[in-house]
């Protein structure tokens, strides 16, 4: 089965990339001047406390030995503890990763929902005002700095109109007095599992503004990619034939032409997901969204390397798995490849 062989080859390749990234993180950790012992010893350690911390972390062991322990720990999924908070990193990841993934999925969905239809309409009305405004809108969406857009959306929708919450993942009434049992970490899913419709609506409302901010860049790209793909497809014989068969314009656009434009849509999913995983640092800070971005940016500023390594590892694995899935989806979307 050609597809299976292809997946196998790509997995091996991805494993190589993940190892490469681990090595890169470890090298940067050595090169960057930092003193893990002082960080580990606590906010205001005395000289003796720092010395004790040095032993505990066996920082004086030779480099290859430390890389070996580092790599085996990573491989076995034991991310160790954060120098700064001495908390189990795996525990923190369990809380922060789902928050980031939830935002990534929601913003990617929004980007596709906004970008693709706009792209189709712009291609259908090429040259006329929907195309002009759509194209300009997509360039503006790509050019808009996320942190500035976040501030504007907060100001308009949360402070002035008050139709959407300003920040956080759940409103305080729910999170303090009647907290959601954490099953998947995805609030909306957990709310459904717990049969709590109020919490479901609340989690949904909290997702809208941050996801919209994160979706602006990928939506712009989705619109442009879909538009150029659709323009090329609408010239094709089978679209002319469909028109000759008397099919209605929307049915031709969305039913016949768009399925051929799934390629660009998939690349946008990849791009938007990647952007949400790492580009979300600013959005997470502004919307107080307890995700990986904020967690790792604090770790980077404090040079808390176990956390940096763990988050980079997790994000890279998400990256690599996602790219693999998208490549497979690219193949599946086009029957000519899938069934050959």
């Amino acid at each position: 089965m050609e597809l299976l062989r292809y997946i196998l080859r790509r997995t091996v390749l991805s494993a190589f990339v993940v190892v490469g990234v681990t090595f890169l993180v470890f090298v940067v950790a050595q090169v960057v001047p930092s003193d893990p012992a002082a960080l580990y010893a606590g906010p205001r350690p005395t000289a003796e406390q720092i010395e004790k911390a040095r032993q505990e972390l066996n920082l004086d062991a030779p480099l290859p030995a430390r890389f070996a322990t580092f790599a085996t720990a990573m491989a076995s999924g034991d991310f160790g503890i954060s120098y700064k908070s001495r908390r189990l990193i795996a525990q923190d990841l369990r809380a922060y990763l789902p928050a980031t993934l939830e935002l990534a999925v929601f913003s990617t969905g929004l980007a596709l929902l906004i970008g693709i239809p706009l792209g189709v309409v712009a291609a259908a009305r090429q040259g006329r005002w929907p195309d002009r405004i759509g194209s300009f809108g997509s360039i503006a969406a790509v050019a808009m700095p996320t942190f500035f857009l976040a501030m504007i959306l907060q100001l308009v929708f949360a402070q002035w109109l008050g139709v959407l919450p300003l920040s956080g993942r759940l409103s305080r009434e729910i999170s303090i007095s009647a907290p959601l049992p954490m099953v998947t970490g995805f609030n909306m899913i957990d709310a459904l599992l717990a049969g709590r419709l109020d919490a479901f609506g609340d989690a949904f409302a909290h997702l809208i503004l941050p996801a919209l901010t994160l979706a602006s860049y990928p939506a712009g790209v989705a619109m442009r990619l879909t538009r150029s793909a659709m323009i090329e497809i609408l010239e094709r014989r089978h679209v002319v034939a469909a028109r000759a068969l008397g099919l209605s314009e929307p049915r031709i656009l969305f039913g016949h032409a768009l399925p051929n434009a799934m390629g660009p849509a998939l690349t946008v999913i990849g791009l938007s997901f990647a952007y949400a995983l790492t580009g979300a640092v600013l959005v997470e800070i502004i919307f107080a969204w307890p995700g990986l971005g904020r967690y790792v940016s604090e770790a980077i500023l404090a040079k808390d390397f176990p956390v940096i390594a763990a988050v980079t590892m997790v994000v890279t694995i998400c990256y690599v798995v996602m790219n693999l899935l998208i490549d497979i989806a690219q193949a599946l979307v086009d029957p000519r490849v899938a069934l050959s």
Partner: protein
């Protein structure tokens, strides 16, 4: 002028005008800024956090400095930031892409796998990590972002070269015994140059935004020199009561990034331009 409009279309021409305007502002900042001293950083505590007025067209910041002058001076930092990031990325990415595409075989495999590792590394994370490692500062923030951008250009260059290498005139030159470097420089480089420069123009906007994001995290230039991202961050805690502090630099970033994107677009599907080598 008419020929320009004809070649780039109206949006492209306006975008080019905006870009040229900001480039001029960067060079002439000390002469056109209403308060040059404040632009460079001199505090003016008496006029702290004033709204836009006749004296201060765009209002003042938390040290009373005129925001218009600060933005003009910041143009030097932010604009060159964007351009240099793209330039550095091209500097690294182009040769790697050329070598990989031209020589192929294990060189191609090795270089491309290396690029994959950088591409797999989450971009902003690597940039923030490099910035933290190198410490804040103008050049450091450029290197930090360039480190994450060059792989895109390497891939683009490699794709172009693969297309060109198949061209008969390249094979003919090879058969005629022309040495590899000469072929690359005289045949491959010029033809790869055009699509890459177009892509570079398109990328100055996003590069500017990434640099602004870095300085928003406090990893940009050292005070008192200002850059747009830093100004938006500094004004954040006074938002929305003193909206102008963040709004003015924020709008500037948006305008410039928009101009570069529109210009890049116009250059890419230029009317009458040479047909693009690759799709």
């Amino acid at each position: 002028m008419k020929k320009l409009v004809q070649r780039l279309g109206w949006p492209g021409t306006i975008a080019l005008a905006v870009v040229v305007l900001f480039a001029a502002a960067a060079i002439l900042a000390p002469w056109i800024a209403p308060y040059p001293a404040q632009g460079a950083g001199a505090p003016n505590v008496a006029a702290k956090l004033q709204p836009p007025s006749a004296a201060y067209w765009l209002g003042t910041d938390h040290l009373g400095r005129d925001i218009l002058s600060r933005i003009l001076y910041a143009t030097r930092v932010s604009l060159t930031n964007g351009v240099l990031i793209v330039a550095f990325s091209l500097l690294i990415g182009l040769p790697v892409g050329l070598a990989a595409g031209y020589f192929g075989g294990w060189i191609d495999e090795a270089l491309m796998r290396g690029t994959d590792v950088f591409l797999a590394f989450p971009a902003l994370l690597l940039a923030v990590l490099m910035a933290a490692a190198l410490g804040p500062g103008f050049l450091n923030s450029i290197i930090a972002v360039a480190v994450t951008w060059w792989p895109w250009y390497a891939r683009l260059a490699r794709a172009e070269v693969l297309v060109l290498r198949g061209q008969p005139y390249v094979e003919a030159a090879r058969l005629a015994g022309v040495s590899h470097p000469r072929i690359i420089v005289r045949h491959i480089l010029p033809a790869t140059g055009r699509p890459l420069t177009v892509q570079a123009a398109l990328d100055v906007g996003p590069a500017l935004l990434t640099a602004a994001a870095l300085s928003f995290l406090g990893l940009g230039v050292l005070p008192p020199t200002a850059d747009w991202g830093q100004m938006v961050d500094a004004g954040r805690k006074f938002f929305p009561a003193r909206w102008w502090y963040s709004a003015m630099p924020g709008m500037t970033i948006f305008l410039v990034a928009l101009a570069f994107s529109v210009l890049g677009d116009a250059l890419r599907d230029r009317k009458g331009g040479a047909a693009r080598a690759s799709a």
